[in-house]
């Protein structure tokens, strides 16, 4: 139990060290909001970014707290945890919480799977698409310990930041989010 706490502490502290470095990266990329594929995939309802484009969404200077969930419609554990995320978001958005659902669906799934899924489940989180095949380059920029598994979730505000390469139940997510509020 103590070990768990210790480990957990370590996991929580690490991103704090990282955040300083990332802040400077942020200011560089803020200007350059690259939206890719707007012409080729002009009919898809969600913004499509590469990592440079999405990076500004992963940091904030405001008083809001952000939940950023990396998911895909083909990822079963991702789909299973989404209702818990949506429920918590509905309960906390009055409390300065924003939720971004970063889809890693492949281009050929955007119209056929992603759009119908978002529609059928009436997702309230802001859905964006991350389409950047240079995964070995951008995965460590999101978090240096991320092995690339999804679901993965980032929770941050202007002071704190934590990254989780795991799935969450509603209760587990609420517990984590409460630390930021």
């Amino acid at each position: 139990m103590i070990m768990k706490k210790l480990l957990f502490g370590l996991v929580c502290i690490l991103p704090l060290f990282l955040s300083c470095k990332n802040e400077t990266e942020k200011s560089k990329s803020v200007e350059k909001k690259t939206v890719l594929n707007v012409e080729t995939e002009e009919t898809v309802r969600f913004p499509v970014y590469d990592y440079e484009g999405i990076a500004p969404l992963l940091y904030t200077n405001t008083d809001k707290t952000y939940i950023v969930n990396f998911w895909a419609t083909w990822c079963k554990p991702c789909i299973e945890e989404l209702p818990g995320f949506e429920k918590l978001y509905a309960e906390t958005k009055q409390n300065n919480v924003e939720m971004i659902l970063v889809s890693l669906d492949m281009p050929n799934m955007w119209k056929t799977q992603l759009e119908p899924f978002v529609e059928n489940h009436k997702l309230q989180g802001k859905v964006v698409i991350l389409d950047d095949p240079k995964m070995n380059t951008w995965i460590p920029k999101v978090d240096k310990d991320w092995g690339g598994g999804i679901p993965a979730t980032l929770i941050f505000n202007k002071e704190e930041r934590a990254f989780y390469e795991r799935g969450f139940t509603y209760e587990e997510l609420k517990k984590e989010l409460d630390k930021f509020l």
Binding site: L7, K76, P107, N136, I139, G148, G149
Partner: protein
């Protein structure tokens, strides 16, 4: 006396922490000796790394039928096997998923896939799900390049096949090919680990 007690406590904490961290980051790192296995191939035979007496190494690839990333890489895995089998580094593919959770990866469906695609390499099922945790594979596809040495099969590379799952023509770095080429020419592997989004292995 007090200092001794403190010292003992400190040592105990250090030790227990060190050992309790281990299982969490379980799996091989580059330089470790990888275990052999005996797993069922889609043709019904049992396959071990030791069966390849003339091999210089192996590309052990954890992959499956159902993962969109794994499917994107099927042709490239076949190409890797064709290119490197004759140079002594054959592909050995292992399907690690729990087939109760992923019926699309059942042994019958693996057989179908291997036939349809004309796999030139063994496609083995990790039926007891005992091998992939030892390797530390977490997603599909997940590649382990092993070098056969007198000390055992040593891990030389862990990670993705190349740097663009979507479009082979846009690939800039062929991680696995670069690693095998370096290994075969007795050089240090330039990039030893890479990260990629993949489908998590279903326990």
């Amino acid at each position: 006396m007090k200092t001794i007690k403190l010292l003992i406590a400190f040592i105990l904490i250090t030790l227990t922490t060190a050992f309790s961290i281990k299982p969490i980051v379980a799996g091989y790192k580059v330089g470790d000796v990888a275990t052999d296995f005996k797993l069922k191939n889609t043709d019904g035979t049992m396959v071990s790394l030791a069966d390849y007496q003339d091999a210089k190494g192996y590309l052990v690839i954890f992959t499956c039928n159902t993962c969109p990333y794994a499917m994107k890489y099927e042709e490239r895995i076949i190409a890797l096997d064709k290119k490197y089998k004759e140079r002594g580094v054959p592909v050995v593919a292992i399907m690690p998923n729990n087939v109760d959770v992923k019926p699309g990866d059942s042994f019958e469906n693996m057989q179908k896939r291997a036939n349809e695609k004309g796999f030139t390499f063994p496609y083995l099922i990790d039926e007891n799900q005992e091998i992939y945790p030892q390797y530390g594979a977490t997603r599909t596809p997940h590649v382990y390049l092993l070098e056969k040495t007198t000390k055992g099969n040593i891990v030389r590379y862990i990670g993705a096949i190349d740097d663009n799952y979507q479009d082979e023509s846009q690939v800039e770095e062929r991680f696995v090919e670069n690693a095998v080429d370096a290994m075969l020419s007795g050089k240090e592997v330039p990039i030893k680990t890479t990260k990629a989004i993949g489908c998590s292995i279903k326990a």
